[in-house]
Point group: C2
Chain length 457, copies 2
């Protein structure tokens, strides 16, 4: 027992990596197997990520496919792609045989188009191959793209005895049973079965006598974010997927939903930070540049727009030079307020807590901005007057401009995400540099217009 004592507190040490590397260099297969066989596949994947790609491929070819198929699933997409490129179609097919249909379809969909057919044709289990082909048809943004074909289902007309026998056979292929679905002769989902009821029912009963007709399900073309919401709301660990005739097609399990939730949160976070494409710190400089530069260019054009505005008012510079020193303050405040407002709305839209009319929400944001604006303007008034010795009129200009800019930024930050959402566009694109930049430019414009009005230049 002692050897398992720390299996869960597992951390990869540099020595372990070095040890593995040395064994691979020495082609010491016996010791590699002895060392790695004790590890969970997720840990092996983590080790392989740290070794170079030739070594990782060597290990994948060495271990048996029951283990490596799971390891492959855990690897980063980039690493997996590189390793699969060195395997033959036959070798990939052997890995695929060991995987559940959903994972198998995910891996195959990452292969180049021409290899996909080749690999599928090498899969020995024809039913498995057909299931994978079925799954490949679905977009990975809908329920069909997330579901697995593996599930336990029983026919309403079966007796308990047959049901138990069939279930046992089906359960062989299913990692976790979760739920037993009940279908009619047309494979239409009509309910579910409680294991408890099954255990206590007389063996001569039919399933139709004991099944529970209330069953949650989603349609195969449902958006995966919607599926995630449903499974969270109803605390489901698995949900059956049906077509429009309620034919049972597959099921989605909570572990896939956990990934959806995490990826969705990461995507929103990255968009808010001005990063598109799903990048990680480890990605290449080229990939990171493609994800980051476009947003910086948006900011750049905003900055040049601001330059034009200031340039347009440059005639007033000599008379009111103090006005210029507060531009960064106006700009930063507008940006910060806009990001705050949009973040709250985007999150509210994601959680369905933003309901009701736009008008009420804008009114609330208006009051909130006014409170924050007056607070900030009051502090700035004192500091600008005593430290920067601005005249009363210039001080008044700065304060009124700050309040106006804060209110405007809050309204824009609230309105744009709601507007995009109503148009069916992901509101998360409106957060980050987009909001910051437009608020920067508008903020500076408003500042100068107010200055022009009050100071009369």
């Amino acid at each position: 027992m002692e050897e398992n004592d720390d299996n869960i507190q597992f951390k990869i040490s540099d020595e372990l990596i070095e040890n593995v590397e040395q064994l691979i260099e020495a082609k010491d297969d016996t010791n590699i197997l002895a060392l790695l066989n004790d590890f969970h596949h997720a840990d092996i994947a983590e080790i392989l990520e740290e070794t170079d790609i030739d070594h990782a491929t060597y290990v994948i070819k060495l271990l048996d496919s029951e283990k490596t198929s799971d390891v492959l699933m855990e690897l980063d997409e980039d690493t997996r792609e590189k390793i699969l490129a060195t395997l033959s179609a036959k070798e990939i097919a052997e890995e695929i045989e060991e995987l559940d249909t959903d994972d198998a379809a995910d891996i195959i969909s990452e292969l180049p188009q021409d290899r996909q057919q080749h690999v599928i044709s090498q899969i020995e289990d024809q039913e498995h191959a057909q299931d994978i082909k079925d799954l490949l048809r679905y977009d990975d943004r809908v329920a069909g793209g997330l579901m697995a074909k593996e599930l336990v289902k029983v026919n309403e007309n079966w007796r308990i005895t047959r049901c138990v026998k069939e279930m046992r056979a089906q359960a062989e292929d299913v990692t976790r049973v979760h739920s037993i679905y009940v279908v009619d002769n047309d494979n239409k989902l009509i309910g579910r079965l409680s294991l408890k009821d099954l255990l206590i029912a007389p063996t001569r009963d039919h399933i139709s006598d004991i099944y529970i007709p209330k069953v949650d399900y989603v349609y195969v073309d449902e958006d995966i974010e919607e599926v995630a919401k449903i499974m969270q709301k109803y605390d489901l660990e698995a949900i059956p997927v049906v077509d429009k005739n309620k034919t049972l097609l597959g099921r989605i399990t909570i572990d896939d939903i956990v990934d959806v939730i995490r990826e969705e949160a990461e995507k929103d976070y990255q968009l808010a930070a001005g990063i598109t494409r799903d990048v990680e710190a480890d990605d290449s400089i080229w990939k990171l540049t493609k994800a980051r530069l476009p947003w910086l260019l948006i900011g750049m054009f905003g900055g040049l727009g601001a330059a034009s505005i200031i340039n347009g008012f440059s005639y007033a510079m000599t008379e009111f030079p103090k006005l210029l020193i507060f531009i960064p303050l106006v700009q930063a405040t507008a940006g910060n307020v806009g990001v705050q407002s949009s973040a709250i709305v985007v999150q509210g839209l994601a959680n369905d807590t933003v309901k009701g009319e736009i008008f009420k929400r804008l009114l609330k944001e208006f009051i909130l901005a006014l409170v924050n604006g007056v607070a900030i303007a009051a502090i700035v008034l004192i500091i600008s007057h005593f430290i920067f010795q601005t005249s009363y009129l210039v001080s008044a200009t700065i304060c009124i401009a700050l309040i106006s800019v804060i209110v405007m930024a809050a309204l824009i930050g609230t309105f744009i995400p709601i507007f995009l959402d109503k148009r069916g566009i992901d509101p998360a694109v409106a957060t980050g540099p987009f909001i910051t930049t437009s608020n920067d430019v508008f903020g500076i414009l408003i500042y100068f217009l107010i200055a022009k009005f009050i100071l009369g230049f």
Copy 2:
């Protein structure tokens, strides 16, 4: 069956809310019950969120506690607090009796200190009350604060027959079985049992003959984010919780982990947007102000700092007026780059993909920033020259300053989160306004220093 056809595509309509409100006004208990009994508790909670608090309380008192206990769990904390304030200790205790220990402890911990003891003393099931008291000791940031006492465990010395009997009794209290844990006579976790093995083993065997000694677990004082990582990495749907002697204390299920992941992502997102405290769009203006104003004040002081810098260089304004119009560009770019860099690092730290030495990461970020910086500077060079007719020296100043500022912002954005993380501080606080503001100020300072050097003022 038809009535269930749309149960999962359930959306609350305004008519439904109105209908419920009218029934409550009319105190038409029969029809309220008839209407609501068909709904899932999560849907009832959603309906009650839309009605006013007196009506919601009326419904809670009307429905039986088997249903309302689940409804209470689904409500927003604010709404729940208001409803519980109107219930007697006895009434709350009745709800608590129906809940699993983890949910029960969560609800009790929200009550005022003096009510907590009172409610617990009213719980009839003494064991349940003791379990809840045990759980209340743990901080909600550690495994103990998330675990439930309900689980299925068997003793290694039992025979299969006794095991099945005991399991059936235990399973009554457990919503989802997930795993069967095996303990020794000291209640020490020694392994787990596969249901399949149990079904096929001869009934006279002992558990010790068939159990699997490899079992994942976490310690009771483990941070919940760490628990979430472990459960995701190893695709676990439940994990047992033990004390330092490996005594089995409880278990954590994946649905609680889903909440942890979502809340963590929301918190990071809000921090990046300059919002502290867990707020929602629906919260009061006062609560929202407390969450937002502090960050705006940081931005404000940054803006005033920038004002001081510009003011300090104001003697050069008359000679090089064009310099000033590019301040917003420099500032916006510095802010955007800093946010991008810090977001990638913070996310990498959260996913454990940022490893290795700080130096290598900074070097990569340096090259990346140089690429982006040169690209942006080249465009700005052309535009500033042709559109704003800046002199060659001023153009050179702007371009060199832009590249320098982008590099600096990237390095600061990368370094600060890693530094905070190493110090044990949540790196997410370094994103958003904090990074933006410091980069704004540094950016403007660098801009003027470079200008001073090149233009010699």
